[in-house]
Symmetry: C2
Subunit: 308 residues, 2 copies
Amino acid sequence: MMDTEIDRELLEKIADLLGKPVGAFNIRKDCGCDGRESTEHIKIDNRADGKSGIDIRILDGTVGETCHIPVIITKPGIEETVYNDFYIGENCDVTIVAGCGIHNCGDQESRHDGIHTFHVGRNSHVHYSEKHYAEGDGTGAKVFNPQTIVYLDEGASIQMDTVQIRGVDSTKRYTKIVCGKDAEAVITERLLTHGTQSAHSDMEIVLDGEGSKGRVISRSVAQDQSSQVFYPRMVGNAACFGHVQCDSIIMGEAKIKSIPAITANCTEAQLVHEAAIGKIAGDQLLKLETLGLTPEEAEERILEGFLA
Amino acid sequence: MMDTEIDRELLEKIADLLGKPVGAFNIRKDCGCDGRESTEHIKIDNRADGKSGIDIRILDGTVGETCHIPVIITKPGIEETVYNDFYIGENCDVTIVAGCGIHNCGDQESRHDGIHTFHVGRNSHVHYSEKHYAEGDGTGAKVFNPQTIVYLDEGASIQMDTVQIRGVDSTKRYTKIVCGKDAEAVITERLLTHGTQSAHSDMEIVLDGEGSKGRVISRSVAQDQSSQVFYPRMVGNAACFGHVQCDSIIMGEAKIKSIPAITANCTEAQLVHEAAIGKIAGDQLLKLETLGLTPEEAEERILEGFLA
C-alpha cells in the first residue's frame, strides 16, 4: 500500500490521505486491490455478481464512521469500469470518501468509469465526497466518466461534494438522486477545465416524496480552449422544494453551456433555478492588485475562492 | 370592416382597436383582406412572391407612427399560414401591433400560423406587440403557431411583447432574434393556459454583435390540467449581456417545464438566467382575503397582477 511517491501524492490529492486511513477502506490500484479493511459496522466485499467493484454494507445505527475507497491508476493504457454498490442501513451518519487519481506518462489513454449506486436507509445521512485528478506529461488522455445513482428512503439525506481538480482531459458525469418522503439531496459541484479539455455534467434530482428537498450548487471555471456543458435537471412530483444554482467563470477562448431544466408535475412543487456565466469582475482583480498581488496572483486567488 | 359584433370584440381584445386604426393598417379576416391603408412612410403590399401575407416597408426616419396588422378568424375550419415581412429603415421609431383572434363555434379546428420576419435597420427602434385570443363553444380546437424572426442591425432594438390571453387550445411559439453590434432585444412573454390546453415556447436570442444586449422576461400561469414547456436560449458570441427570467404559477393539476439554456462562446459574454415555478403564496391570498375578497377574487387579483 502506498508503495511509491506517485501513489502517496495521488492519494493525498484525491482523498486527503496521509498514510493508512482510519476506519473501513478499500484502495484500488491499477485494477487490483491494494489494501482493504472492514470494521464492525462497515463491511467491504468483492461483488457477488463477479463484476469489477465492491459491495459496501453499513449496519443500522452506524454513526460518525468514515469509509475511504480511493482509486489510483499509475500505469498508462488502463481503461476500467468499476461498479460499487452501497447499502446503508437506517439511522446512520457516515462519511464516504471516494475519488480517483490518474498518473499517465504514456501515450495510451487511461480511463476510470466509477458506477456508484447508493441505497440510503430511513433517516440516514451520508456525506459523500469525490475528487478527480490527473497528471502526467504523456500524450495519453486522462478520462473519467462517473455515474452516481442515489436512492434516499424516507427522511434520508445525502451531501454530495464533487471536485474535479486539474488534469482531466475528458469527463462525462451522470448523477441521479431520487428523494423519498422528507428526503434531502444537496450537491456541490466544483469543476475546472483547461487546455483543450471537455467536461459534461448531467444531473437529475427527482423529488418524489412529500417534503423532499433538492439543492444543487455548481461552480465551474473554464480556461484556455476548454469547453463545459451542464444539464442539471430538477423534477418535482410532490410537495417539495428544489433549487439549482450554476455559476461559471469563463476565461481565454473557453466555451460554456448551461441548460438546466426545472419540471413541476405537482402544484405544491416549488422549484427555482439560477445560472450565470461571466468573466472575473475587473474591480475584484483591481482590488487585489492594489494590495500588491500581480495580475496572475490576483486571478489565481479569485479562482481559489470561487472553487473553494 | 368590423361588420359584426364578433369582429369588433375580437379586434378590441387583440389590438385594443375601437373603430378604424390611426395610421397604416391591414386587417385580415377569414383569409381575406378586410381593410388596408398605407401612409406616406409605411407601405403595405401583398407579397411579391405570391405567398399568403404582406410586405410592410417602413421608410428611413419614420418616427412615432403605428402600424396595425390584426387577424381575425370567425369561421370554423380555417387553417392558414401567413407570411408577413417587415423591412424597417434606419433611424425609425415605430410601433407594430399584431395579434390574432379566433372565434370558433364549430367542431373543426381553426388555426393561424403567422410567420413574421423583421429586418430592422441601423439605430431603429421597434415596439412589437402581439396578442392571441380565442373563444367559442364549439369542440373545434383553436390553434396558434407563431414564428417571429428578427434581425437587428447595428444599434437597432426591439421590444417584443407577446400575450396569450384565454381560449387557445394549443400553441407552439418560435422566436429568434439575432442582435448586431450594440443592438438590444427585450422580450416580455405572458401566457395563460387552462383546461387541457398546451403551450410550448421556444426562444433563441443570439447576441452576435459587440455590445449587444438581450433580456427575456417570461411569466406564465398554468391552470387545471394544462401543460407548458419553455425553451428560452441565450447565446453570447461577443462582448454582450444577456438575462433570462422565467416565472410560472402552477395551479390545479397543471404541469410546467422550464428548460433555459445560456451559452457563452466568448469570454466577454455575460449571461444570467433565473427561473422559478411555484403556486401562489398563501400569505398573499390571506392578505387579500383579509381585505374582504373571496378566495376566488383574491386568486384572480394576484394572477392579474402577475400577468400585467
